[in-house]
């Protein structure tokens, strides 16, 4: 079977109709990973036994002539920030080098319950902190479209694995753009759901009020299939919302005619690369031709999103990462004589530079004398940013925007300037702060053939509309 451009439905049908066995399909993906991944670096751990067991289960169903579940026999992989029972999970960090979780992340369990064959765990920035995947403690990921460039981050391995046809679909996580930006850089589809739409149980926490799990796939329809599978209330995550899950796939059939799409001038201003701008403008024009009404809107607090985000996210991270102390799991420094020395040295030796930087920034923002000036201030600005969206969504059904100010940059280009790296998250952090859903869908290329993504943002729990608009854009591209 040709693995290139293989979609969920095509893979599932092949297994269902016994044109290919799920086990053979998994094997051929492993062969492809073995030959192609050394130059890309998307995988950290393979779990072949687990994959083949699930594949054989699906083959047995198909042999009996039973209807396969929605992802029956479909090869997928998981960003290494989601725990997998019995399969090493590192979060891209040395501090979790030998960690073998005793339980499964809900989103992963739901994918497998729907028949998905999990091939392995995917590279990412350490604890999902980064925009280029260069903060992985293990190895950088190379963009399959141009190996000298970054795949984006932090779900760089997820985006690269899908783009290089090493899996049919992947799960990533998005705290400030970590699904949408790599999807854009690698030319695949990536969706961050509404906060609470998908359970975070088993997602190694970075910033709990901003963390989301979501799909990266080759098509908008595949994203809808994965989202439908992983969404919905989970008693193990008290912030997961008890809101009915629509049939996102069926909802894709509805027309986009008459939808009002907002274009915010703040997202098309200074700092946006010319080629990205013209691709976004062309994509918006194509949506207008399909009967969408384009409405100019304003999101006036956008320029304050990065500073607010980097306080809220790092403050929460400094608290979440306090659990890595070398006592119950993870790396422990060998030479410590006292408990306090053990904590410090384990963390010093186990965490990478960016993680330490964020722990320091977050701890500073929460420390006595600075709490009001930084943390409380940022939380108030978060309210203003959310109000911007609420007001905009009174006038429009969705917002169309760029994902990132530029296409994929070169490996090493921004690695020495953390602020420059942070500033590139300008168009994505806003959705995470407000908790609204967003999707990145490929809409064009630069002259150097680098993919450009169109971002579509929607109302809380209105993934259906952004998926529809994304599909309309995908068909027109």
């Amino acid at each position: 079977m040709n693995l290139e451009q293989l979609t969920i439905d095509a893979a599932r049908s092949a297994v269902q109709e016994r044109k290919a066995s799920a086990a053979a399909l998994a094997e051929s993906f492993y062969v492809k990973i073995q030959s192609d991944d050394p130059k890309i670096g998307a995988f950290l751990t393979l779990c072949k036994d687990r994959a083949i067991a699930k594949a054989l289960e699906m083959d047995a169903l198909a042999a009996k002539g039973e209807k396969l579940p929605p992802l029956g026999g479909v090869p997928v992989a998981i960003k290494d920030v989601m725990v997998t029972k019995g399969v090493r999970t590192t979060a891209g960090s040395k501090i979790l080098d030998n960690y073998v979780p005793p339980y499964d992340c809900t989103a992963v369990a739901r994918l497998e319950a729907a028949g998905a064959v999990v091939l392995g765990k995917l590279n990412c920035d350490e604890f999902a902190m980064g925009s280029s995947n260069e903060n992985s403690a293990w190895k950088p990921v190379h963009n399959p479209r141009d190996l000298t460039r970054v795949p984006g981050g932090s779900s760089g391995g997820s985006a690269a694995a899908v783009a290089a046809d090493m899996v049919v679909a992947a799960l990533g996580s998005d705290t400030g753009g970590s699904i949408r930006q790599p999807a854009s850089f690698c030319g695949v589809v990536g969706l961050v759901p509404t906060y609470g739409r998908v359970s975070r149980y088993g997602l190694i926490a970075f910033a709990s009020s901003l963390d989301h799990i979501g799909p990266l796939t080759k098509t908008v329809k595949d994203t809808a299939i994965v989202l439908r599978t992983i969404a919905g209330r989970d008693p193990m995550d008290s912030t997961s919302a008890d809101v009915p899950v629509p049939d996102y796939v069926a909802e894709l059939e509805k027309p986009v005619l008459g939808l009002k799409l907002g274009v915010a001038k703040e997202y098309l201003g200074e700092g946006l690369d010319k080629e990205v701008r013209s691709a976004i403008e062309a994509a918006i024009q194509k949506l207008a031709k399909q009967g969408c009404e384009i409405v100019e809107i304003s999101l006036p607090h956008t320029k304050y999103a990065i500073p607010a985000y980097y306080i809220v996210a790092t403050a929460e991270a400094s608290s979440n990462l306090a659990r890595f102390d070398g006592v119950r799991y993870g790396y422990r420094a060998k030479d410590a004589r006292t408990l306090s020395e053990m904590y410090r040295r384990s963390r010093d030796q186990g965490f990478g530079a960016e993680v330490k930087r964020r722990i320091m920034l977050g701890t500073y923002a929460l420390s006595a004398g600075y709490y009001d000036a930084y943390y409380l201030k940022a939380q108030k600005v978060r309210t203003l940013l959310t109000r911007d969206f609420e007001e905009a969504f009174e006038k429009v059904d969705a917002i169309v925007a760029p994902v990132s100010p530029t296409a994929a940059f070169k490996l090493g280009e921004k690695v020495d300037d953390p602020l420059a790296m942070y500033l590139a998250d300008i168009y994505t952090v806003t959705a995470d702060l407000a908790g609204i859903p967003g999707i990145s869908v490929p809409c064009g290329e630069t002259r150097e053939k680098l993919p450009i993504g169109l971002q579509i943002l929607g109302r809380h729990f209105d993934e259906s509309t952004i998926l529809r608009v994304a599909q309309a854009s995908e068909k027109a591209a």
């Binding site: 005793p102 500073p307 530079a353 320091m360 500073y364 201030k377 203003l384």
Partner: protein
Amino acid sequence: MKVTAKDVAYVADLGNLELTEEERTRMVRDLNSILGHIDTLNELDTTNVPPMAQVSDRYGVDQSKQGSERFAYASREDVLEGLRKSLRHDLALENAPDSDGTFFKVPKVIER
């Protein structure tokens, strides 16, 4: 310069990090650069703006409820064993860097 070497030492202490001399020098530079940008937040008057700690503060929660009542949506019956059985003792210790089979072992806490 907002953040000094002394601040970095203090904050590293709070965060249970040691940091090498080189890391500390770099941290002073990076934190000042980032906080310099973060100071743009002061252009906004937020006197009467409520802080937002959670998305659910604004969505899915009855706005008339106060305090812990606001999180009633997340509550469940308090039952023995809760949602699942506790992790088996041996599994809980399986990832420990050091244990005696019953407890996690750590270096001496109190020096005599």
